[in-house]
Structures are given as C-alpha cells and as structure tokens.
C-alpha cells in the first residue's frame, strides 16, 4: 500500500467510525432541507422552483461541517507533525485527505439527494441534473474548504471562522451548480454552459486548493 493510499484508507476508516459516521452529514442535509418549508411556506410550486437551490445550500453546509475536523484532529494528537516528516509532498497529502473527506461526506449526500428531492417535488430530469451537478461540484467545496480548514487549524473556535472564510469562496461553485441544475429543467440556458464552468471551477480547485492549504499549514511552522 502506498503512503498516500494508506492515508486515504485511514481517513476514511476514521470518518466512518467516529461519532455518527457517514450518517451525520446526510442527517444534517435532510434537516436543513426539512427546515426550508417552515421558513418559506409549504407552497409546492415555490418549493419545486427553489428546490435545487435549497439542496445545493444544504450540501454546502453539510460539507462544511466535516471540514472542521479535516486537519484539526490530526493537529491535536500530534499526527500532523509526523505526517509532515513522512516524505510525501504535503500537497498530495492534502489531496488524499480531501478525497477521503469527499468520499465519506459528499457521496452519501449525493445518494440521498434524489430521495430528498422528492420532498421538494423535484421532477426526474431535474433530479438527474441536480445529482450530476452535485457530483461534479462537491469536490470543489471540499478542496476550497480545505484551504479554510488549513488556515483555521490552530485556532480554537476555528469552526465559525472556517465558515466565514470558506463560504464566500464557494459562491461561484454555488452559482454555477444551481444554474446548471435549474438549466436541466427549463431553458433558456442549455445545461452544458453552466455545467462546463462548474467543471472548470472544480478542476481549478483540485489544483489550487492543495497548494494553498499546504502553504497555510506550513505557516504553522514558525
């Protein structure tokens, strides 16, 4: 097993075993979606129109929840120090941890999204578009979030600060993700246009995220 694969497997094992496991993220996702009709009113037509947006927001917030622990738990028990001496480039380490986070947090969400979409009366073509945009867009959320997590790692009340740093950076992903999901249902914009931009955003974040996060973690070394 290569060093990075070992790290990926370890992070996934821990994510699945600790606390509520992978279920917690999905549960939060469902709770946020359930709250919306209480705020917005039970008008199904309205909910159907804003459905993809609600699901995207909920996915974003649920992803954010688990990001707090991305580096913090390793930092607290001294594992991060040892990982730095492992000989693997820090950028790849972050990529591996990000992948583990995405697999354990986002994939369950994406699987649950169509079912939850039923609650908001989202039609099948819209469901398909939504799932595809989530699949492509959630890695961007993870890797942008990793930058915030790296910056906030040494801070005690890091969770809130992490949200404040990360959420504005995720706005482009949110815009194009929802636009693509909506485009899957109704025109005038064809699905491809916002979707390709979303893909581009994700690919960019897969590269920039690890480098920026590594730089932030190295700041820790005075």
């Amino acid at each position: 097993m290569t060093p990075l694969t070992a790290l990926l497997v370890r992070d996934m094992r821990i994510a699945v075993r600790v606390g509520g496991g992978a279920m917690i993220g999905v549960l939060f996702f469902v709770v946020v979606v359930t709250l919306t009709p209480f705020a917005v009113g039970p008008d199904l037509a309205l909910l159907k129109r804003i459905g993809p947006a609600i699901l995207w927001l909920a996915a974003l917030l649920a992803s954010l929840l688990a990001l707090d622990r991305l580096f913090a738990s390793d930092h607290e028990d001294g594992s991060l120090d040892l990982i730095l001496t492992g000989g693997s480039p820090l950028e790849l380490v972050i990529a591996a941890k990000g992948l583990a986070h995405w697999l354990t947090t986002a994939i369950p969400l994406i699987v649950a999204a169509p079912l939850i979409g039923l609650l908001l009366d989202i039609e099948p073509p819209a469901q398909a578009g939504l799932v595809l945009t989530l699949l492509v867009g959630t890695p961007a959320l993870t890797f942008i979030g990793a930058v915030g997590a790296a910056i906030a790692v040494t801070l005690r009340r890091g969770g809130m600060l992490l949200a404040i740093i990360v959420l504005p950076l995720t706005v482009p992903v949110l815009i194009f993700g929802v636009a693509a999901a909506n485009a899957a249902v109704a025109g005038p914009v064809p699905f491809g246009t916002p979707f390709t931009v979303l893909c581009a955003l994700t690919l960019a974040s897969l590269v920039i995220g690890p480098f920026a996060a590594a730089a932030a973690l190295r700041l820790d070394i005075e």
Binding site: G20, L27, P37, P42, L44, L119, D121
Partner: protein
C-alpha cells in the same frame, strides 16, 4: 416473575432466550391471519386495491409512535428510577422505531402519489411524522457518538423526553391544521367510524406489528447486553495486559 426481577440483566437474558422463539412464532401466525383477512377486505370504490396500503401504513405509524412512547418511559426509567435495563431498552428500540416511521413515510408517499399526484406534501401530519423520523435518526446518532453506552444514556433520555412533544402534535395535527391527510377515524371520541370489514384486519395487522416489535425489541436488547459485556471484557483485557 415480577417485572422488577427482570431488572437483572442475566435474568433478563434467560427470560428473553425463552420468550423470543415463542413470540416469533406468535408473530408469524398473527401476520398470516391478518394478511388473510386483509386480502378478504373489500376494495375501495374509488382507489381500488391501492387502499390496502393502509394495512401497512397505519399500523407502522402507530408502532412508530408507540416506540417513541416506550423510549420516553425508558428515558424516565433511566433518569428517575435508575433502572438498569432502561437504557438498553431505549437503545434497542430506536432503530426499530425509525424503521417503522420510515415504512409509514414510504408507504404513505407511494399511496399518496396516485391519490394526490405528488409523492409528498408539506402538510402538518406528514411534516410532523417526518420530524419524528429525523428525531429517531438524531437519537441513533447520539447513541453512536458516545462510545460508552451507559454514559450516552442520560443525554439520550433528555432528548427523548423533549422529542416526545412531537407525538401529540402528530396525533392531533389533522384536527388542528387544515391538512390534505385524512382525519382521525379509528381513535376518536365517539368510537371508530371505520367499517368492521376494514377495521378488523387493520387491528389484526396492528397486533401483528406490535408482536413483531416486541420480538425484535427483546432480541435487540439481548444483543445490546451481550455487546456491552464484550466491551467490558475487552477493556479488562486491555488493562490486564499492563
């Protein structure tokens, strides 16, 4: 054997080992009879045979609420009377209640689709039932978050008691709010308005579901007790190694 004597886990295990096969048998028999009677029940003049989803939907709703009621009593048992098996019962019951509630939501959704043209509406009864399901999941998550079950018990007990508020809301939601869901027809003052050809199979199914719940609950409690014993043994093993 008095109920209080069952408080001893070992004695409970012995009783459960005896009782579970009989209960399982009784469950199967009552289910068979109930399904037979349900098949005989007349179709609805509008909905046709679809109406028979009711024989799954209604009992599972009742059991979902009954289970939370049981968890509430167990919560009091943990907090007030310090009964040793109360938290075992609560932990074992939670997934069962969640399953019944999910069954209710899914059967209701499938039933509602041809009726109302949609899989879901945000009316008071459905929403409060969904909230119940989320409460169950929250309780299950809380049990799993704390590794030592007996420590988690008190936190879960408090959550259970607070969540119990949802039960009367579900029950009376169809009265208090204008909802799409059918009003109360079985449990109401003045007696049920349901015809016996439907009511009898319904009550039989409810009895079968209840027997199923009790059987599964005892089995789950047995598993939980054994699980805790394994944990204790492993802790002893770790500390004995030195």
């Amino acid at each position: 054997m008095r109920l209080s004597e069952l408080a001893n886990p070992s004695r409970f295990l012995r009783t459960a080992n005896l009782a579970i096969p009989w209960l399982a048998g009784a469950t199967a028999i009552v289910f068979a009879f109930a399904i037979y009677r349900a098949m005989l029940a007349p179709d609805d003049y509008q909905q046709g045979a679809t109406v028979k989803i009711m024989f799954l939907h209604v009992p599972s709703a009742w059991l979902g609420m009954l289970c939370w009621g049981l968890m509430t009593i167990a919560a009091l048992g943990t907090l007030v009377w310090r009964h040793p098996l109360a938290d075992v019962a609560a932990k074992a019951a939670a997934p069962l209640g969640a399953a019944f509630t999910l069954l209710c939501l899914v059967t209701g959704s499938l039933w509602g689709r041809p009726e109302w043209g949609t899989y879901w509406v945000w009316d008071a009864r459905l929403t409060s039932e969904l909230i119940l399901f989320l409460l169950y999941l929250g309780v299950i998550a809380l049990w799993r978050t704390v590794e030592d079950a007996s420590r988690a018990a008190r936190a879960v007990a408090i959550l259970t008691l607070v969540g119990a508020i949802d039960l009367p809301i579900i029950k009376f939601s169809v009265d208090w709010w204008n909802t799409l869901h059918q009003g109360a027809s079985v449990f109401r003052l003045g007696g049920s308005t349901v015809d016996p050809t439907i009511l009898i199979p319904l009550l039989l199914m409810a009895a079968a579901f209840t027997l199923l719940f009790v059987t599964l609950l005892l089995a789950a409690m047995r598993n939980e007790i054994l699980r805790r014993r394994v944990r204790t043994l492993r802790l002893l093993q770790a500390s004995a190694t030195g």
